[in-house]
């Protein structure tokens, strides 16, 4: 008797196993981890961020709906500072981190270059460091003492020492320098891989037509790299507006005169230091809106959508 029961159990188990292994069910099992993680760690948090942005979140799980109050509160000098720092930081990083790596990638790609691999690796090495570790060097290189590296270099040009990390302009410079140092190599790699996909015949044809280096760069290289440039600009906008680490590396949570206050550090200080979750969520919602909008404008500017409809 027991034996029979056991056999039935066994065959049932077998059947379940077969069903789970059928080509109809299996794909759902395969994508299930993503679906679960999406629902729990993306959809739920993002919806609750939207809801919280209309709430006043008190301790002990109590909440009050306050309508647009949190959004009205955005009209304050700190938010403007954060907006301005994030915008300027994004602008300057893109301003440097598109043309310069593009040019360097072209140089690295030139024929008969000695030490190509060495250059490529050494330009990429900074990307391996964390912002905190890299920031440690830059924080003390930009120290205010006359003996700091940055001030020593100024001294060569007969310039007075600066208090780099106390002033809005030099503070911005410090953040951009940190980002550029770490990220230059990554963008070079992006552009290099794009360059290697350009057919050599294009350049040969241009040579026959007597085109010079600049003609070739602007008429062949740049247009061929357009998809890569769009990609890099898109992720730079994304990274620029959600920057927090660079500022944290220089000033931790609070910078003098808000010179390092970005949108994300504002979310951080309001949320975790002031425990004002509603207001912090409202900042987050505007950040999402800004990133989406700026990227949309950028993609339209580059004719990204036009290309697809043609």
């Amino acid at each position: 008797m027991n034996q029979v029961l056991f056999e039935i159990k066994k065959s049932k188990k077998h059947e379940v196993k077969r069903w789970l292994n059928s080509q109809k069910i299996v794909p759902y099992l395969f994508v299930a981890p993503f679906i679960l993680s999406f629902l729990l760690f993306f959809l739920y948090p993002i919806l609750s961020a939207f809801v919280m942005s209309f709430q006043e979140v008190l301790g002990f799980g109590e909440v009050n709906f306050v309508g647009l109050k949190n959004y009205k509160n955005l009209m304050n000098p700190h938010y403007y500072d954060a907006l301005s720092v994030s915008f300027r930081y994004t602008f300057w990083t893109i301003f440097v981190l598109i043309p310069v790596p593009l040019l360097l990638a072209t140089l690295l790609n030139s024929k008969n270059l000695i030490g190509r691999n060495f250059f490529r690796s050494s330009l990429f090495l900074p990307a391996l460091t964390s912002v905190i570790v890299a920031g440690m060097f830059f924080r003390y290189a930009f120290a205010e003492q006359a003996t700091s590296l940055a001030n020593q270099i100024l001294g060569w040009f007969g310039h007075e020492p600066l208090t780099w990390l106390q002033d809005a302009k030099t503070g911005m410079l410090a953040m951009v320098v940190l980002c550029v140092w770490r990220w230059m190599g990554v963008n070079i790699i992006y552009f290099l891989s794009g360059l290697q996909n350009i057919p050599a015949e294009l350049y040969e044809a241009a040579d026959i037509d007597g085109a010079n280096v600049f003609h070739k760069f602007f008429n062949i290289t740049v247009p061929s790299l357009k998809p890569v440039i769009i990609y890099v600009v898109t992720i730079s906008i994304y990274g620029g507006f959600s920057m927090f680490a660079e500022s944290f590396a220089y000033w931790s949570y609070r910078s003098p005169g808000n010179i390092g206050l970005t949108l994300v550090s504002y979310i951080y200080t309001t949320g975790f230091n002031n425990a004002d979750f509603g207001f912090a969520s409202a900042i987050g919602v505007t950040l999402l809106g800004i990133i989406m909008l700026v990227n949309l404008v950028q993609l339209m500017f580059f004719g990204f959508f036009k290309k697809e409809s043609e």
Binding site: N21, F34, S37, F124, S130, N197, P227
Partner: protein
């Protein structure tokens, strides 16, 4: 137009420019190493600079680094290793299986799932940190390694990457295995995984690097000093009243070394992992 001599000259200019840029890229590493041998007080007094006074330099800082506060630095190092290992292992396994499912099967809702993957890639995680933090509190995962790893375990970027890599593998392999009576899971584990080895290599390095260096989320989840990861532990040493400045630069140098070694051994995989993001688009 340009003669042979002109061409040679231009090659040298290119070379010279690249040498200068490489020096700029490498100099901070040199400064970090040099500063790691200087007394912390000097760092505080003078900042990082070009002075080298061999007499004042010593290995003492490294000794302090490993012994100070019951070897707290080694704790951080171990935590970083553990979290990086956990995160990399889970995320590779889960993301590869999702990416493969999306690439190789036809099922209802497939396009929707793929669209969601792309959407999630577009939204900065920084917006989610507050609600995620509340979620971690209710799941009792604050100050745990699982709390650091769990919310980002299925990385949309890695899913996308594995989908792209699986698409190009011919379906014939799967058909042949099915005829031999191979189950769908076995097909993935014993046929697809070996074929996807280069993709695993590239993603492993990229995910490990991201996890090793990540700041924003561990900064929120981890609370107690002995549970911190390297970047956060190092950042916590910088306090106006701290007397731990001896540890700063040796700590920074030691935290870079493992990742540089991995990079030196697997340069190709690094670069592949970075460039598949969408460059071909």
């Amino acid at each position: 137009m340009v003669g042979k001599k002109g061409k040679k000259a231009s090659q040298w200019i290119v070379f010279a420019v690249l040498v200068v840029i490489s020096v700029l890229a490498l100099a901070p590493f040199a400064f970090m190493v040099i500063s790691s041998f200087k007394p912390g007080q000097e760092l505080l007094r003078n900042g990082v600079n070009m002075e080298i006074n061999l007499d004042a330099m010593s290995w003492k800082n490294y000794w302090t680094l490993f012994t100070e506060n019951n070897g707290i630095y080694l704790h951080w190092f171990k935590n970083s290793l553990l979290i990086t290992g956990m995160y990399t292992g889970f995320s590779l396994f889960l993301s590869s299986i999702v990416g493969y499912g999306l690439a190789k099967y036809d099922f209802k809702g497939k396009n929707l799932v793929f669209a969601i993957v792309l959407l999630v890639m577009m939204v900065p995680v920084e917006i989610l940190i507050l609600p995620l933090y509340k979620l971690m509190i209710s799941m009792k995962l604050i100050d745990t390694y699982l709390g650091v790893v769990l919310p980002f375990m299925v990385s949309p970027f890695a899913v996308f990457f594995f989908r792209q890599s699986s698409v190009s593998i011919p379906k014939d392999f799967m058909e042949a295995a099915r005829i031999d009576g191979c189950g769908e899971f076995r097909i993935f584990f014993s046929i697809m995984m070996p074929l996807l080895k280069p993709a695993f290599g590239a993603m492993m390095i990229l995910q490990a690097m991201n996890s090793w260096n990540s700041l924003v989320w561990p900064l929120i989840v981890l609370r107690s000093t002995e549970k911190l990861t390297l970047p956060i532990g190092l950042a916590s040493l910088i306090t106006p009243y701290g007397n731990n400045y001896d540890m700063l630069f040796p700590g920074a140098v030691m935290s870079i070394i493992p990742i540089v070694i991995i990079f030196m051994l697997n340069q190709k995989a690094f670069i592949e992992g970075l460039t598949v993001g969408g460059v071909k688009g």
